[in-house]
Symmetry: C2
Subunit: 187 residues, 2 copies
């Protein structure tokens, strides 16, 4: 273990190059403010997921189950491949969690009609109910925040969050939101 650490702590040359670039970029402006935002983002996310975690415990599920159930509910008929693409995990990792959701009757899979190799995922009524409860908890936090915020700041939240996403990812996220909205899979 000492060896493992010792072998890896020396700084590779490739890092040194853009280390300076990044450091300079941030040092250029008042970094203190940005650092505060970094920490606020950390604390905000911690509490945000905490809500759902507590509810999930009652079902013996974890965050991984939540994510799967959420996206299946949001886009009924989702394929495995599409889900893997959203979650960015391996199929082996997805399978463990998905299998539990299927066996417990929160999600069901039907063979694709156009391509029968595909497994189209749908929430069961029970699954949809849990997904709705989880979404309600997290939505409630946002709604409360909007209420606390000065009106002028309310519209800024979604713009801010969207801008925080990798620019190369934004189009995909936009497409996902549009698809979900069109599918009418609200709450």
């Amino acid at each position: 273990m000492d060896e493992l650490v010792a072998r890896k702590i020396s700084e590779p040359p490739s890092v040194a190059a853009w280390r300076n670039a990044a450091a300079e970029a941030a040092a250029a402006a008042g970094d203190g403010d940005a650092l505060e935002l970094v920490e606020l983002f950390f604390f905000a996310y911690r509490d945000f997921v905490g809500d759902a975690d507590r509810l999930l415990e009652n079902y013996g599920f974890g965050r991984a189950h939540h994510r799967v159930l959420h996206f299946v509910n949001r886009r009924p008929g989702l394929t495995i491949a599409a889900l893997l693409d959203i979650l960015r995990i391996t199929k082996q990792s997805l399978n463990r969690v998905l299998k539990q959701l299927l066996e417990a009757g929160f999600v069901e899979a039907r063979a694709g009609v156009v391509d029968r190799r595909q497994r189209l995922l749908y929430p069961t009524p029970k699954g949809a109910a849990l997904a709705r409860d989880l979404a309600a908890l997290q939505s409630a936090r946002f709604l409360k925040v909007m209420d606390e915020l000065p009106p002028a700041a309310r519209g800024a939240a979604s713009k801010f969050l969207f801008a925080m996403i990798d620019s190369g990812e934004r189009e995909r996220v936009r497409a996902h939101l549009a698809y979900a909205k069109a599918a009418g899979a609200a709450t």
Copy 2:
């Protein structure tokens, strides 16, 4: 495993009660918008931590090391207890990660002067440099976001994130930020 799931999926009575309350609260307003915010928050956080993850890989460290190094750098002289309080993990979990940071020379511990049982944690120069690089990456994302955002929306980000934190936690977070700022542990 089937039994394990079967045993836990029946909904406990305590849940049913506030399930409705939460569902109603969210259903009361246009939930669709809030759902979008939920997903944007998820994607934004994913990309936000991704930056640091890639840099950490070069050192054989993970997110857990990052969090420890970050807060030690931000508040030099931090005690174990204070760190546990911020991270909300067990001492056993902290210890594994902290030990690696100590052995690899990124953090050092000195006995407390007023209370010699305490171990005061400080970043080494090497640790401070890595912390600065990591912070620079994440700060850079925020700075870029601020640049992309309409000027009117810029001030809203920190208000929004702060409002997303559990109300019972805000005072502690405020205290942490004030302490860090006063300690002058910038970047």
